[in-house]
């Protein structure tokens, strides 16, 4: 396993030797990686290699067996109470492959719900922010539309706006374009690109290799619950060292 020194001296996400299993199935077998503030990290690899589980571990949705995960000021592996987990999730937001919008709420209500009820912020201020966020993801005119009437790409952009409304320090993207058709993939990727360029710390699990190459500072290739190889995209994509990486890339590039 190779580990790059962090680009910044102060990583905002620091994962050390993490093990995780569902029953007898060991999903993560000693993962270590770190992300500097403002960094963009892509995790690639075959299905079942533990990529999505890793992201869920980072915001405490899935508990880990061993190792340590630190995000900003939180030691995620030590958080036990709901209050602690809630405090963490205000800092780290995740966007899912299947959008998971709340179907009984309009687009703007989806964006406004968590800031109002979780952060207990003023409703009018939240509305101003939600309008701005929907504008940012290019959906101003869809504010009062229910998720069922939106396309997949539009739903995913609402989901991104919903996550951003919590003003997180870190955004996690779990194969957010995997359920979309090629045309709508672009609109979602443009949104993420804009975020990354504004300096948001992003971790993406993705199968969009061109996007990973363009945007990532560091790309991690995982297989079988371990990081096989990592490095800047130019190195990992063009000059992979490990045989397993070469085999994987030759399959999909």
């Amino acid at each position: 396993m190779s580990e790059l020194p962090a680009a910044s001296s102060d990583p905002i996400v620091d994962i050390h030797d993490v093990y995780q299993s569902f029953g007898k199935v060991e999903v993560l077998k000693g993962i270590s990686l770190s992300v500097p503030k403002g960094g963009v990290v892509c995790i690639i690899g075959p299905s079942g290699s533990g990529k999505s589980t890793l992201l869920r571990c980072i915001n405490g949705l899935v508990p880990i067996d061993r190792g340590s995960i630190r995000v900003a000021k939180f030691d995620v592996h030590k958080l036990l109470t709901d209050q602690e987990k809630i405090a963490l999730r205000k800092e780290v937001s995740i966007v899912f492959q299947q959008y998971n919008l709340f179907p009984h709420k309009t687009a703007i209500e989806n964006v406004m719900m968590a800031p109002i009820h979780v952060l207990r912020e003023n409703k009018d201020e939240v509305r101003v922010r939600a309008v701005a966020l929907l504008k940012k993801v290019g959906l101003s005119e869809k504010a009062d539309v229910y998720p069922g009437e939106l396309s997949g790409g539009q739903q995913q952009r609402v989901a991104i706006a919903r996550s951003l409304a919590m003003r997180p320090e870190v955004m996690l993207f779990d194969e957010v374009t995997a359920a979309l058709d090629p045309e709508t993939v672009k609109e979602v990727l443009n949104t993420i690109r804009a975020l990354a360029q504004e300096g948001m710390t992003c971790m993406l699990v993705t199968h969009e290799m061109r996007f990973a190459r363009e945007l990532a500072d560091t790309v991690y290739f995982t297989d079988g619950g371990v990081i096989v190889e990592s490095g800047p995209p130019a190195d990992l994509f063009d000059r992979p060292v490990k045989e397993r990486t070469r085999a994987f890339l030759s399959q999909i590039l």
Binding site: N59, L61, D82, K85, I86, A87, R89, K90, S93, I94, F96, Q98, N100, L101, F102, P103, H104, M113, A114, H117, V118, G148, R162, S163, M166
Partner: protein
């Protein structure tokens, strides 16, 4: 029978009503029926009981039965006796008062059963094992006990009056009977709630958790609102079943439509009236329950599309 025929005979087995239907068939001609039956079975599983399958034809059949009853009774009218329609008309105000009583019992039992059933349903998904198991046991005890037995328990175990701070409050029979009917309603509502909550995809919980909602907020603001439209059709179905079951309280001596019909018949003492009078009772229940059943079917169809 040919060899192929006996081969089929081995594989063919009568399905019980609540068994899942096979998803495939080697007889393509059965496919349309299979999907229809699968849908009907799915509805019955959600409702936890047989659903009403009323069609306009049922109304016509009922009307025909009623007319035959009238005709038969009419034919037996002795000279000097009033005609059958006249007799029915004479008793109608009394019978309808009884029917309104049936409706009152059904409404009170449904309201009480629903309120307690909602709590019980949420207790069934509690994270505290004693609460969850207690609610499960209560639900299944009352859901699987015969309605009539519960009714008798309530009639004979509850006191006919209670004294609170020296004030004697009588408990009328009809209230006890209503409580007896509310118990199975409560248990069925509890199961409807549990089923609906568990039918919401886990990704909704995950999504809410990732946005830092706590469990109470998630249930109240995200899961339950999505459950309401899933709960409505089986709940209305339950109400229709309850309304028809209110005639059970005639057995324990409450003066509702069924008891009054019996009293009317014995007062008239004309055997020819039997069929006409009971058909007349059926007709009133049909008039009330049929629109509910049709509305339920419409709601089910609409929600199936929107989900």
């Amino acid at each position: 029978m040919s060899a192929g025929g006996s081969d089929h005979a081995i594989r063919t087995r009568t399905l019980r009503w609540n068994e899942p239907l096979p998803q495939t068939t080697d007889l393509p001609v059965l496919l349309p029926a299979a999907s229809h039956l699968a849908h009907a079975a799915a509805i019955e599983r959600t409702a936890g009981a047989f659903t009403l399958r009323l069609r306009p034809a049922h109304g016509v059949a009922l009307a025909v039965l009623f007319l035959i009853g009238c005709g038969w009774a009419e034919a037996q009218v002795q000279p000097g006796q009033p005609s059958i329609v006249e007799t029915l008309w004479k008793w109608t105000p009394v019978l309808l008062r009884g029917f309104l009583f049936n409706l009152l019992i059904s409404a009170v039992a449904m309201a009480a059963g629903t309120i307690v059933g909602l709590f019980l349903g949420f207790a069934q998904i509690s994270l505290l094992p004693p609460v969850r198991k207690g609610a499960w046991l209560t639900t299944h005890f009352f859901r699987n006990a015969p309605w009539l037995v519960l009714l008798f328990y309530c009639m004979f175990l509850l006191p006919f009056q209670v004294r609170i701070f020296g004030v004697t409050i009588p408990i009328p029979d009809w209230l006890k009977a209503t409580l007896g009917l509310a118990l199975p309603v409560m248990a069925n509502v509890s199961e409807i709630v549990r089923g609906a909550v568990q039918s919401i995809p886990t990704t909704q919980w995950e999504s809410a958790a990732s946005l830092a909602f706590n469990r109470r907020q998630t249930l109240w603001m995200i899961i339950f609102p999505q459950c309401i439209k899933r709960m409505l059709p089986p709940w209305m179905n339950l109400y229709a079943i309850l309304t028809m079951s209110t005639v059970l309280v005639s057995i324990v001596g409450v003066n509702e439509m069924m008891s009054l019909t019996r009293q009317a018949l014995s007062a008239e003492n004309r055997p020819g009236l039997l069929l006409a009078f009971y058909s007349y009772v059926l007709f009133w229940f049909f008039l009330y329950c049929y629109p509910i059943a049709r509305w339920t079917v419409r709601l089910e169809a609409r929600y199936a599309v929107n989900d």
